[in-house]
Symmetry: C2
Subunit: 208 residues, 2 copies
Amino acid sequence: MPVRPPATGEDPRIVRSRAIILAAAHDHFVAHGYLGANIDALAEEAGVSKRTVYNIYGGKEELFRAVLDRAIGIAEEFSRELADAMATVGLEGLAVRLVRVLLSDRVVPLRRLLIGESRRFPELAAAYYDRAPGLVMRTLAEHLPTLPGLRIDDPDTAAAHFAFLVVGAPLDRAMFGEQRLGDTELERAALAGVAAFRRAYAAAGNGP
Amino acid sequence: MPVRPPATGEDPRIVRSRAIILAAAHDHFVAHGYLGANIDALAEEAGVSKRTVYNIYGGKEELFRAVLDRAIGIAEEFSRELADAMATVGLEGLAVRLVRVLLSDRVVPLRRLLIGESRRFPELAAAYYDRAPGLVMRTLAEHLPTLPGLRIDDPDTAAAHFAFLVVGAPLDRAMFGEQRLGDTELERAALAGVAAFRRAYAAAGNGP
């Protein structure tokens, strides 16, 4: 597990403990939700004392926020990578990446947790939406009108149509814990979504 | 609040209490989640004694299952009405109904609760998926190939494309508690989804 280099003057043992606690707390909160989480059990899973957790984070709510801030930051990085890839991989390549990231074992449980806790922590759910799916859709809206062979009059609507043609159905199924499709089926569904998008947004003379 | 007529021999006071408790418990579980729910507070909100709740339902888990079974039954009824309407209202009429039902104050909180509790109660989340969105998609897959002007080679994929072009983006935003679109914007988004669907699935000679 990667441990960030300590900031000047910071005790390297605290830096290490923090990384270990955050990783264990992520898995613990995903498994038990906010109310079901237990700092004693979590400390044991992290292999640190309960006192260490309280000394570094203060309490359960602060730890939850730290875990979610970090997870949202990682989701934002994934989204930025997807956004950066748009210029080079084509719509089909983008669709396959999108479905792989969004249906991953990292993203599905995070989305479930944020949706389940969106009433208790509305600002975390809103931050995720803005920094992950929102970022991808904004970048799509900028990118789609630059592509040859398409006619895009309303970039925001076209971006939403692309995203939900590609990931809508498998992601919604996954939210309810329905059996996750295999990689081949996911890829097939993503490419069928791109094909429908290309037909819907074909420039005149390019139609079926 | 409608109270069902008592089954033969059933005490009408129990039938009435049950209806009152289920309605109050629905609001309470939606507001607090499963672990955050409290039978004392819930009984007070329902205006009955804690003892009455335990006598009728046994405990929190049984009450939660009874509330969710009922809510899933109502979602199934909505879905069956949508399915029945397909033959008469056209794709545009269907899209507007779909977005109104799915973005309603009844469905959004229920979906959040089921997604948040899908790890603890996987069979309830699966039952909802099968009996509500699953039912709508199966009916769409049967209905779409019968419509004039469309070419549908893969009915299941076309059904998913229709549903997520129409409700995908606003529903995903709503799951994270992002500001709900107004009725006019929702309707506009739904109709833009149908227009994209018609372009994507236009029969030859009917294209753009």
